[in-house]
Symmetry: C2
């Protein structure tokens, strides 16, 4: 029994955050919203490989998690604008460390 692990339990928060930010497209969506708020179709244009079906689903999840705010603009065809909350913006900043890693190593 080689149980010389100093730590044999993963921190709950850490586990939760990887379960969350590790979901497909989440990183790119947050990254996309960092510069400025964007409409549904703009996000979709930005990430063409992300289908509308999943984009809808992911945005709903991000809204429920307090990462994103969904703002309805009552135009002719109604427009929806998504913006980051403080929580979401903080996540985006944290993710920039990973982006820097990518620029160095990929």
């Amino acid at each position: 029994m080689t149980s010389q692990d100093s730590t044999n339990k993963i921190c709950n928060k850490v586990e939760e955050c990887y379960h969350f930010t590790g979901k497909k497209w989440v990183g790119l969506i947050v990254y996309t919203l960092m510069r400025e708020p964007k409409r549904f179709s703009e996000i979709h244009t930005f990430i063409p490989d992300l289908s509308k079906r999943v984009l809808t689903e992911r945005m709903k999840e991000l809204e429920d998690s307090g990462i994103v705010i969904r703002n309805v603009i009552p135009d002719r065809p109604v427009r929806i604008e998504y913006s980051l909350t403080k929580k979401g913006n903080d996540l985006g900043i944290a993710l920039q460390a990973v982006e820097s890693w990518a620029k160095k190593w990929l």
Copy 2:
């Protein structure tokens, strides 16, 4: 045509890194290997919800990407030890920013 996007192309490296780190379990695996190298079964014990099938698959991918080194220890039943490369360790450090975010916001 409201094409007043200052940036309408995602950086390739950024896109690639999210396609990569956004894969299920990758973050937790790198996190797990940060403290010290670990054997296959130790990783599996650390992340019980990650199946052996996918763990095998993910470790192979991480090895191919130069994140991890697979070291064969010729014991009675052969043991495999996985350790992070410099590239992998750098990724782990970048991910700590996300973990800090998690500890603050989750």
